[in-house]
């Protein structure tokens, strides 16, 4: 069983490292659609997969968050990636299995995974 004493220990470990997360111009934002449509289509495990993958790789310049319904409910789960100075990339019908490729190819190496994007799905972006 986990106790709050372990949280105390975690805090001691982390104390010195707070503030290294930079929310400056180099930060990438990943947002998952979490309205009724997104949740029903499976957005929760997608968000969890992004969080886990980003933490595993220690990507301190990536923030993972949520957004509401952007009006393309038939393509949910929808994930948008915002990089400073670049056009937004919209991934559609995302599954947790697609997340490692998006993280490594796009978030780390800067090349969007075209086959998962809304453009490749034949829809109007």
């Amino acid at each position: 069983m986990k106790s709050l004493a372990e949280l105390q220990a975690l805090r001691e470990q982390m104390k010195g490292r707070v503030g290294i997360r930079h929310d400056d111009d180099s930060s990438i934002r990943v947002v998952v659609g979490m309205a009724t449509c997104g949740i029903a289509a499976g957005a929760r495990p997608v968000l969890a997969a992004f969080t886990e993958e980003v933490a595993k790789r220690g990507l301190s310049n990536v923030a993972v968050g949520q957004t509401g319904c952007i009006g393309i409910c038939q393509y949910e789960p929808v994930v948008e990636v915002f990089e400073p100075g670049k056009e937004k990339v919209t991934y559609v019908k995302v599954t947790p299995g697609m997340v490692p490729a998006i993280v490594s190819q796009h978030l780390v190496n800067g090349t969007p995974v075209t086959e998962y994007t809304i453009g490749a799905s034949g829809a109007q972006g």
């Binding site: 069983m1 805090r11 470990q13 982390m14 929760r44």
Partner: protein, 183 residues
């Protein structure tokens, strides 16, 4: 329609976030003797008038709305009623809103609860500025996760840092497993 009750909770709790709540309390209680599952989502947000409550419960109640009405609460209500339960909303403008859903625990048409811990983790991660209290109760025993306690211990360490979210996930999973294992 959602596949798990925990997804309904994730969806309906979002209303509390949008209502400007600073504290949201979610309680999931199994009562074997009464054969009942109760889910309560209580917030201290801006609350609703009786007319707004009516609109939220039934999106077809009125054609005269100034804003879009979602399907979150109607889905949750349908899930409750299908299992022989019901959904009620108590709300007061300026005070907050409490959504209470009851289910027939062993009713064949009751949806599985699903991954409540995943729902709670997601809510904390996406809304770290809000305090969350999650109580999981079974036949009188309970486990509680209160982000106010977390914050007190964490001090300047953010609640939504990856390490803390990892701890939160383990905390919920292990303590829920222990609660459900102790018969």
């Amino acid at each position: 329609m959602m596949q798990e009750l925990s997804l309904n909770v994730l969806d309906v709790a979002e209303n509390s976030v949008r209502a400007g709540a600073s504290l949201v309390e979610i309680t999931v209680e199994e009562d074997t003797a009464a054969d009942r599952l109760t889910i309560v989502i209580r917030d201290n947000g801006k609350g609703m008038t009786p007319e707004q409550v009516q609109t939220v419960i039934d999106p077809f109640y009125t054609t005269r709305t100034t804003r879009k009405v979602g399907l979150g609460v109607p889905f949750f209500r349908m899930a409750a009623q299908l299992s022989g339960g019901d959904l009620t909303i108590q709300s007061q403008p300026g005070e907050g809103t409490t959504v209470t859903a009851t289910f027939g625990l062993t009713n064949i048409d009751r949806m599985p609860l699903g991954d409540m811990n995943g729902t709670v983790s997601t809510l904390v991660q996406c809304n770290p500025h809000i305090d969350w209290v999650y109580t999981r109760r079974k036949d009188g025993r309970e486990m509680v996760m209160d982000t106010r306690q977390f914050r007190e211990i964490l001090g300047e360490v953010p609640l939504d840092s990856p390490e803390v979210l990892g701890f939160l996930g383990d905390y919920l999973r292990e303590n829920t497993a222990e609660l459900l294992a102790n018969e």
